[in-house]
């Protein structure tokens, strides 16, 4: 029986991008459905009644919500190729720890960079750079967080790179200057096929951020 895989997503969501990358890495045939977040589909509301958010992975009619949970699910079910999590339990736990760190830090702080002003924005800038520096430390001399190939933490983190032009312009920071190793890692990731074909253009994402700031008077 062929697997039926559907991804409910929204093009600019870094969380959705994570699941796209995982599906691409594993070569999983699936249907991508773009949601209108101002007019959520009945399927989305039925499949994620708790959070009503994207991404939602639907595998043979069963829904898996929350991006990192969906990525782990994909890794466990389609386990014959391209493992995203290490096989050693301690290394696996470290990958989970750092993915959790990305969740706790990068999205919220990044968002504050382009939505806040004054002191709050300054604090966000400091926190953002600190977080990237910690991640640089964790990366060390490795090509990717996953080692020689991309892994769970790379998948969790790289989508936010598409938002950097927005963060940098509105937040008035220069990430490459402060964290050159981070940018070098990001550029390496963008050379990986499953990543480059899963992520939207940075300029398009920037255009989206500009639109939102105008709409909500955040300039």
């Amino acid at each position: 029986m062929a697997d039926e895989v559907i991804l409910l997503d929204y093009w600019v969501s870094p969380f959705g991008m994570r699941v796209r990358i995982a599906l691409a890495e594993k070569g999983i045939k699936h249907e991508y459905r773009e949601e209108d977040l101002r007019n959520k589909s009945p399927l989305l509301l039925q499949m994620n009644p708790v959070h009503k958010k994207i991404p939602v992975l639907i595998h043979n009619g069963k829904s898996i919500c929350e991006s990192l949970i969906a990525v782990q699910y994909i890794d466990e079910v389609w386990n014959e190729k391209s493992p995203l999590l290490p096989s050693d339990p301690y290394q696996r736990s470290q990958a989970r720890f750092w993915a959790d760190y990305v969740d706790k830090k990068i999205y919220e702080v990044g968002r504050n960079l382009w939505t806040k002003k004054g002191e709050e924005q300054e604090a966000a800038k400091k926190e953002f750079i600190e977080a990237l520096k910690l991640l640089e430390q964790e990366l060390g001399d490795k090509t990717y967080f996953g080692g020689d190939k991309i892994g769970f933490v790379d998948v969790a983190l790289i989508p936010f790179y598409t938002w950097f032009k927005g963060y940098e312009t509105f937040g008035n920071i220069n990430v490459e200057k402060e964290c050159p190793k981070f940018i070098a890692w990001a550029k390496r990731c963008m050379q990986v096929e499953s990543i480059s074909k899963s992520l939207p253009d940075q300029d398009k994402v920037y255009g989206f951020i500009v639109e939102i700031t105008k709409k909500f008077g955040l300039e």
Partner: protein
């Protein structure tokens, strides 16, 4: 003594529900460990060395290798010691277990904190509303004696906060969210959970916890005057 389990240490504080989660899991699996009580107002060098990122407890150390974040620790424990599995084995069931554990930490606990640790009436009302909504989802999810079926599992362990800490908070701050008429299944579950032989041994003394929460609320009340 579990054969070849290696050296296991746990840094924690007695009143922390996150630390107790790890202790319950270790006890269920019969893992022996050295417990190190931390003073969070004067964190030890060991804690700061082992958890430089968050500087919090619990910190779990296995053969000198440290781990932080209770849900991450619990996955590691389950993968390392396979007896008494606390996570389901099937990927879909496992995904659900992870979902509900996260839901407890990311939605329920913050809502309860919002409701409890304020003297502002509106804040409290808002917190209560969010807590009730969140708890209803969990209530609907409970289909057997425990979230794990006949035996306690990761979701039960994650929800231990609701069984033991929440009632103490409710009493200390004058709040009522987990009532038996609104949430009959969760209420019954909390009684079963607190009476489970392993859980019972691994909960902090109720008086101490109540005293701690009362002081905390008193400080908030005093500060707001």
């Amino acid at each position: 003594m579990a054969k070849d389990q290696g050296e296991v240490q746990l840094l924690g504080v007695g009143g922390s529900p996150f630390v107790r989660r790890v202790q319950i899991a270790l006890k269920l699996k019969g893992i022996e460990y050295t417990y190190i009580e931390e003073n969070l107002r004067n964190k030890s060098d060991l804690l700061l060395k082992y958890n430089p990122i968050h500087k919090k407890v619990p910190v779990f150390v296995h053969n000198g290798k440290p781990l932080a974040e209770s849900l991450v620790i619990l996955e590691y424990i389950d993968e390392t010691w396979e007896n008494y599995p606390i996570f389901p084995q099937q990927p879909y069931e496992k995904a659900l277990a992870r979902f509900w554990s996260r839901f407890i930490d990311d939605k329920i606990l913050p809502a309860i904190s919002k409701a409890a640790w304020t003297v502002n009436k509106e804040e409290r009302e808002k917190g209560i509303e969010e807590s009730l909504q969140a708890l209803q989802f969990l209530e609907n999810e409970l289909k057997h004696k425990f979230f794990g079926g006949e035996n306690i599992s990761i979701v039960d362990i994650a929800a231990s906060y609701l069984a033991f800490w929440l009632p103490a908070i409710e009493e200390a701050v004058g709040l009522k969210v987990l009532s038996s008429d609104k949430f009959p299944k969760l209420y019954k579950w909390s009684q079963e959970f607190n009476n489970h032989p392993i859980v019972k041994e691994n909960l902090p003394p109720k008086d101490g916890l109540l005293g701690f929460f009362k002081s905390r609320y008193a400080a908030i009340s005093a500060a707001s005057k």
